[in-house]
Amino acid sequence: MVLSLVLTAMFAAQLAPHDPTRAVAATFGDPGAPSFAFPLGTDELGRDVLSRIIWGARVSLIVGVAAMAITMTIGVAIGLLAGFFGGSVDFALMRFTDVMLTLPALLLAMAFVAVLHPSLLNVLLVIGLVSWTQIARVVRAETMSIASRDFVIGARALGGSPARLIVRHVLPNVMPIIVVMAVLGTSGTLLLDAGLSFLSLGVPPPTPSWGRMVEEALIYFRTAPWLIAFPGMAIFYAVLGFNLLGYGYLRARGTRVGR
């Protein structure tokens, strides 16, 4: 499923039957019902919904993955530092994590976007800032168990600097769990981005992201429910794809991610 998404995003130009930003159907301001020419219908400006969803895959995936990268950077850094140094560093960082866990992610993101401006970069940063807590906790737990193993203690006794120890010895061993968390986390950032877009706080138009397509279609919910249904299914498909990949891997390995 994830592979199909990546391919769709890469070959959007080849796959999309129409230009997503131009009117291709003469609908005179009304959304067009699904038909043979336009399988998923057209929107109020006569744009082909299927093409918009295909192009939306590119936007949504880029936002989801980029936001995930920022989330991972923050979460992994905090988790590694807290787990490796322990003591007061750990205490300070974990209490900060507790505070962030107390704040509802979407509400905090809304507050951030309200005082900043909803540009692509800001949306990415905000999603990263509100969703790193889970990753920090898991990475911290892994780091703690690895840092107490013999080979790390040995390297430390040989006089390796903390930075070298973390990068050379701890990080490679934490990597598998980081990869799983990144896959599962992408489903989270995709949902958060879709939620923000739905509240008109996401990446600004004309970029056709799936969440915003649902939001824009809301006023036609009586006459053209397909405008809402199909982009939502696309979000669902993408999020489910990442979740299945992550959990499937965990189940195959017989391990589990900490709570």
């Binding site: 505070v99 107390t102 009586r222």
Partner: protein, 309 residues
């Protein structure tokens, strides 16, 4: 027991202090000029100067924070710029609707999630287990706002059996509750499944089986006793996640609660109201966790008798 409770209360207060620092930073430090952010870009210099003085923006940051905190401790979260009334009163007037929605959603999600998790654990590795894994992952993956909208279209528009949003009769509670509960149900089912599978591998389960008890009884009585505790903790912590869903659900269903209030506040750039709703949500989460801690202390004899948890 008393010492444990005092520790939890102090901890909760410390967390709230931390959240107040974060909301303060968002409201007063990040915007280049909070006065402009609050009054709008077109405000005249005189208005801006008045607002700056009212907000104490001419003071050093730590004093500004001290004032902000002092007012918050007295229950004063500032005045809404658009509605021209007290933020605290606005939030309190919207609280019952949100509490009703959240409570019914938690009950429904536990009501669905617990049996799902139990069945999956009992049928471990069989078709039912794999099927339930996929179902619960699907539930987790549905965008809340989309599910709400689709339910609204199906239930309100085509079946005519539910009102199109708003809150005037008990029936209008059904669709928002379902919208909010399904995702959590999938989540709880996953967690309970993991906990149960882990509990079933313990020695005391083997003992119970050795006594000749039926598999169903072992699962329901013995394994559940240990698997439920982490789930209770999680349900408390998950309130933060639930409140994120509340914002979307209330927006879709035009539900007169705090989530909708927060959305309107963001839409109007009503910064005191936004910060008020964020801080109040954090307060709710901390209180919920405190209640969970109390329950835990009451349920777990190790804590009740004063041993280290």
């Amino acid at each position: 027991m008393i010492a444990y409770l005092i520790r939890r209360i102090v901890y909760g207060a410390a967390v709230l202090l931390g959240t107040s620092i974060i909301t303060f930073i968002i409201a007063f430090v990040i915007p280049a000029d909070p006065a402009v952010a609050m009054a709008g870009a077109k405000a005249d210099p005189h208005t801006l100067a008045t607002i700056r003085h009212q907000l104490g923006l001419d003071l050093p940051l730590y004093l500004q924070y001290a004032h902000y905190l002092g007012r918050a401790l007295h229950g004063d979260l500032g005045r809404s710029y658009i509605r021209r009334s007290s933020v605290t009163q606005l939030i309190l007037s919207r609280f019952p609707a949100t509490a009703l929605l959240a409570a019914s959603a938690i009950i429904l999600s536990l009501g669905l999630g617990i049996p799902m998790g139990m069945i999956a654990a009992a049928r471990r590795g069989r078709i039912a287990d794999n099927l339930l894994l996929i179902v619960s992952l699907a539930l987790i993956s549905i965008p809340v706002f989309w599910l709400g909208t689709m339910l609204l279209i199906a239930g309100g528009l085509y079946l005519h059996s539910f009102p199109l949003g708003g809150f005037d009769e008990l029936r209008s509670l059904a669709l928002p509750t379902l919208t909010l509960a399904l995702g959590s149900a999938g989540y709880y089912s996953r967690i309970l499944h993991t906990n149960l599978v882990e509990a079933l591998e313990q020695d005391y389960i083997r003992t119970a089986r050795g006594k000749g008890l039926s598999a169903a009884r072992v699962l329901a009585r013995h394994a559940m006793a240990n698997a439920m505790l982490p789930l209770v903790t999680l349900a408390g912590l998950d309130l933060a996640g639930l409140l994120s869903g509340v914002v979307l659900t209330e927006t879709v269903f035009d539900w007169p609660g705090i989530g909708r209030l927060a959305y309107e506040a963001v839409f109007n750039l009503d910064i005191p109201l936004i910060m008020g709703t964020v801080l109040f949500s954090a307060f709710l989460v901390v209180v919920a966790n405190l209640i969970v801690d109390l329950l835990y202390a009451w349920l777990d004899p190790r804590i009740r008798l004063g041993e280290a948890p």
